[in-house]
Symmetry: C2
Subunit: 194 residues, 2 copies
């Protein structure tokens, strides 16, 4: 299963690399970092990551969209959103972490669907597109092919939930044990909801 991780300037480091750690260690999963034109992309925390150009190579079966301060500019960038909408439509599964759901919502693809996001940026996320059925208390939300998670570390729980839905509970538990991670396995239990 090909996983494309869509990076942009000022993405949040763990939003991307928590799920990359989990999905990238499952036999049969292949993860790569992408951006519209490829090249080096720098995270909020200053990590410089090499990306392949979006649309090259195999079609992604999974698209992962992190959040971070970089989303604030991109939700107002029509060309970027058109590219994101195109790749998201072609992907079998789309996973967002933190304010990555605001970016996806700005494409219109989440209109009328249930989704969540970082609880500390929630008002801003809702303001980006109020036509989404935003869920204010959830570790992560699944609606059709879209998985959206709460802030930063919640992306790891969502990635494990995605694995569980695809491969079963035993595989998800094994993936959590491999990284010695105390999993939050209940998507509706949200310790950080207001």
């Amino acid at each position: 299963m090909n996983v494309d991780v869509l990076l942009f300037r000022n993405f949040e480091t763990l939003d991307a690399f928590g799920p990359v750690e989990i999905l990238g260690s499952v036999p049969g999963f292949s993860v790569r970092c992408v951006s519209p034109n490829g090249g080096m992309v720098v995270s909020v925390q200053g990590v410089r990551v090499w990306t392949e150009p979006l649309g090259t190579g195999s079609e992604p079966e999974v698209l992962l969209v992190p959040g971070g301060m970089g989303t604030r500019a991109l939700v107002g960038d029509p060309a970027y959103l058109a590219g994101l909408k195109d790749v998201a439509e072609r992907s079998a599964h789309v996973l967002t972490v933190c304010t990555g759901s605001a970016l996806l919502a700005a494409t219109g693809l989440l209109d009328g669907l249930r989704a969540t996001s970082n609880k500390r940026a929630f008002d801003w996320v809702v303001s980006v597109n109020p036509s989404v059925r935003w869920v204010s208390c959830a570790r992560w939300v699944v609606d059709g092919k879209f998985y959206t998670s709460s802030g930063v570390s919640a992306g790891m729980d969502m990635a494990l939930g995605f694995l569980e839905d695809r491969l079963g509970r035993a595989e998800a538990e094994a993936a959590a044990r491999r990284i010695e991670y105390v999993r939050n396995a209940d998507r509706d239990e949200d310790p950080f909801a207001r």
Copy 2:
């Protein structure tokens, strides 16, 4: 506080970027990725990260050493270990995640000190240097300037513990809340010990 993250071929992605997420978001902390000669370094999960040459720029106050399959070759590389020993001696604090402690142990700097590591690679880690007082049940261990953590995600708890020791409990709790992380705050509580 300058934090140098020492990367090498086949480092474990989250070992590095869990602590980077946490430490790199604290005001006054500055994180960069380094390797002996600089350049691109690829993780076990295929993430390509740009590194600065070790020894350039400001002296690191914190050295972070991840683990991963890449440590297996490096524990037998005298030139690499000499460089690691040198920078570790000059750093005020040295933090290792997972099998990063085996790499540090191979330099001799942990001889006679308490340390821990990934519980799934524990026998190998002990075999690298039995002169370390290896702790088989701990989320993370502190001995002097050395912080060593259990596998992968335990590095995040260790990073929060390090912050707590430097800046106090409130700052550590705030850092965990910022990333919506359900912290394992007790270093002696190890759900993955055998």
